[in-house]
Amino acid sequence: MALSDTSAVTRRNRRRASSAAMGLLRFAVTTLTTVFGLLVVTFFIGRVIPIDPVLAIVGDRAPAHVVERTRIELGLNLPLYQQFFIYVEQALSGNFGTSVLTTNPVFEDIKRVFPATIELATIGTLIGAILGIPLGVLAAVKRGSIADQVVRVIGLIGYSVPIFWLGLLSLVLFYAKLRWVAYPGRIDVVYEYTFTSTTGFFLFDAAWQGQWDVFRDVFRHVILPASLLGYFSLAYISRMTRSFMLNELSQEYIVAARAKGLSETRIIWFHALRNAAVPLVTVIALSYAGLLEGSVLTETIFSWPGLGLYITNSLQNADMNAVLGGTLVIGAVFVGINIFSDLLYRTLDPRTRSR
C-alpha cells in the first residue's frame, strides 16, 4: 500500500516535471518564432516602404557623391538577402545600431523614452482599473437601472470619442481655464537644472530624492494624459467587468450563497468578482500592454517624449534601426505581459494549476 503510494507520487512528479519541461519548450519555441517573425516583418517593411533611408541621414540638399557614399556605408548597395543576414546578426548581438534622428545608440534612446511611457501607462491603467472595475460591478448588479445606463454611456463615449479631440478639449478646460494641471511636457523648465532623473521614472526619482516640489510638478504634468488614457481603459475594463459579472451572477453558486444567507456585499465582492477576476486579468494586462506600446496621439498632444512618439517619428523618417529596436522591445513586452498574466491566471484559478 505504502509502496504503491510513493510510486504514484513519483510518477505524478515525473509527469509534472516533464510537462513543465514541455511547457518551457513550447514557450521557447513560441517566443523565438515570434521574435523571428518580428525581425522578418520589420526588415521587409523597412525595405519595401518607398522612402530612401539615405535621405533621412544626409537630407535633401546633399550632393550626389555624399548620397552614394552614405548608401555604401549603410550597406544598402548589397543584395537584399545579405542585408537581411547583417541585420539579423546585429539584432541578435543586441546591437540595434545608431538612430539617425537622435544620433544616439538606439538602445540608449529606448532606455530614455520607455520609462516615460511606462510611467504614463501604469498610472493610466491604475486609474482605469480602480475606477473601471467598481463601475462595471455596479452596472452589473443594478442591471437596467439608471446607474447601468450611465456607466454604459461613459463606456460608449470612451470607445467612440477620438482621443486627440478629448485631449485638446481637456487641455483647454483643465489647463488653460481651470489651471488644475500643468502644460504639455513631463516637467517644468524651472526644474530642468535642479532635478536629474536617474531611472527615467520622474515620479519615483523625485520621491526617492525627497524633492516633493518636483514630485508635485511632475504629478501635475502626468495626471491629465494619464487620466485620458485611464478613461479609455476604464471604458473597456468597465464594460468587460459588467459582462463577466453578469455571467457570474447568473450562476448557481450565487443562488446557493444567497440561500445560505450570505450578505449581498460578500456575494458580489468575494464570490462573483473573485471568479470574474480571472478573465479580467487578461483584459487589464492586454490593455496595459496596449498603452505601453505608446499612444502616439496622446504623446503628441502632451509633448510626452515616450516610445510611441519615438517609433512613429523614426518610421516617418525611415530611421529603421530605431524602428527595429522599438518593435523588438514592444514584442518583448507583449510576451512578458502575457507570461505574467498567465502566471496570475494560475494563482487565481486553481483549475489551471495542475496542468
Binding site: 480602480i130 455596479l138 485638446l168 483643465f174 511636457g185 523648465v189 495626471i223 456585499t265 519615438y310
Partner: protein, 536 residues
Amino acid sequence: MIHAFKGRIRLLTTGVALAVMMAAAPQALAATPKDTLVLAWAIDDIITLDPGEAFEISAGEIMGNAYDNLVNLDINDTSKVTPGVAASWTVSDDALTYTFKIKPDLKFASGNPITAADVAYTFERAVKLDKSPAFILTQFGLTKDNVTEKAKATDDSTFVLTVDKAYAPSFVLNCLTANVASIVDKALLEEHVADGDFGNGWLKTNYAGSGPFKMMQWRANEILVLERNDNYYGEKAKVKRAIYRHMKESSGQRLALEAGDIDVARNLEPGDLDAIAKNKEIITDAAPKGTVYYFSLNQKNANLAKPEVREALKYLVDYDAIGATLIKGIGEIHQTFLPKGMLGSLDENPYRLDVAKAKELLAKAGLADGFDVTMDVRNTQPVTGIAESVQQTFAQAGVKLSIIPGDGKQTLTKYRARNHDIYIGQWGTDYWDPHSNADTFAANPNNADDAAAKPLSWRNAWDIPELTKETAAALLERDAAKRGAMYEDLQKKVLETGPFVIVFQQTEVAAVRAEVKGYKLGPSFDTNLLSPVSKE
C-alpha cells in the same frame, strides 16, 4: 444588503472625488523665470549640432546663436555682410585671394583663444568631413587635397583663402556666413577625435563655438538648452538661458503661451494666430524667410512638357484666395524664385487666376478637353490645402488632377527619382546668396538620368543649356548691381517658361508674450538671434 453596497460605492466615489480635488488645487498664473527665455518650437528636425554637418532649419537657428563666423549677414541690409571673428578683409585685384585679419584677444566659450589656425582648421575640417553642406565651401575649388594650402593661416591673426575662379566677392562672402563656415574650437575638438573624424561624433551633441550663447544640452524631440557665453566679445546676451522646448502642436503652444508657461510660440497655425490677435498680453513678430513654396511640372510627362500647358497651369491657380485664407499670416504670394530681400530679387507677380486664358492656351496645345495628371502631396498644411485649391481651379479648365497623399520623405523620394507628374513642395535657400536658388531653379548642367548634379530643374527634367550658362556667368560678375540685374533677368525667364509654378514665400511668425522685449525674427533661418532679448 443592497443598502450596504450603496454605502460602499458612495464612500468610494467620495474618496475619488476628494483625491482628484486635492491633486488639482488651483495654482497661481505660472511664469517662467526672469532670466530664462522659454521657446516652444518643433525641433524634431535636428539630427546633428555639428556646424560642419548640420543642414536643418532648427539646427541653423541654434548655430546662428551659438557660433560665430568670419563674417555675418547684416540683418539690417541683407545684401551686405558685417565683421564677425574677422576685423577686416581685403580681396586681391584678380579676385582670387581673400585675406582676413582676425580680431585680437578673442576667446571661445571654452576659454581657448581664437586664432587664424582655428579658422583654417574649420575649413579643413568641413571640406574633409565632406558632409551635406560642405559643397558651400568646395564650390570655390577647395578639395581634400588642396584645402590646407588654399585655406591657410599665415600667422596667428591672418587667414588667407584662395578661390579657383574670379567669383563675385559678394558670393564668396555670402557663403562664408553659412553655418558650415562657423568657426570651431580646434584645441577642444582635438581632445574628442575618434578615428580621424575631426570630433564629428562628439560634436553632433556637443559644442565648440564662440557665439553669444553656448549650447549646453540637447535631448532629441524634447529640449535644447542655450546658456549665455560670458567669453563672447560682442554685446553679451541679456538673458542667462534660452530653452527650446519641443512642442509640435499649434494649439498646445497657444495654450501654454496664453498661460505664461512659455514666452515664445513658434509654430502657430493661422487659426491660432487669429485667436491670439485679440490678446493684449501677446504680440506677434513676422519676417519673410528664404523659403518659397511651389509646384513643379515634370517635363518627362508629354502633356506637361508643352510650353502652352506650362503657361496655362500658371493661370489656373487662385493666388488671391490662397493668399487670403490658406497662408494668411504665414506667407505672401510670390512668383519668382528669389526670395524677397535677397540681392537681385524680383518682386513681380504677373499671374492671376484666368480660366479663359488657360483654356485658350490648352486649346493651342491640342488639349482643349483637358487631361489627367497626378500630384504628389505630403500630408501637412499648408501644402494639402493648396493642392486641393489647385485641384479645384485646374478642373475649371478640364484638367483632372488626382492628389496622391504621402508622407514627406516618401513624396520626396519619388520626386528625387523624377517619377512624379506634379510635385508640390518648398525650397529654402542653402546660403544667403542668389546663386543658391539660381543654381537649382535655373541651371541643369546635365539632364541625363545619371547626372552628377541633380538640381530642381533636373528633377523636373527641364533641359536648359542657355540658362545654365547665364547662371554661371552671373556668378563671376564682380559688380554687385550688374550681378543683381542678371538674376532679375534669370527670374523673368524662369517665370515665363519654367516648369515651376511658384506660389508664395514663407513668412515666419512668432507669438511672444508682452513682457519679452527685443525679440525679432531675422531675415534668414540662422539670424533669429536671441542675444538682444530681455524680459521684464
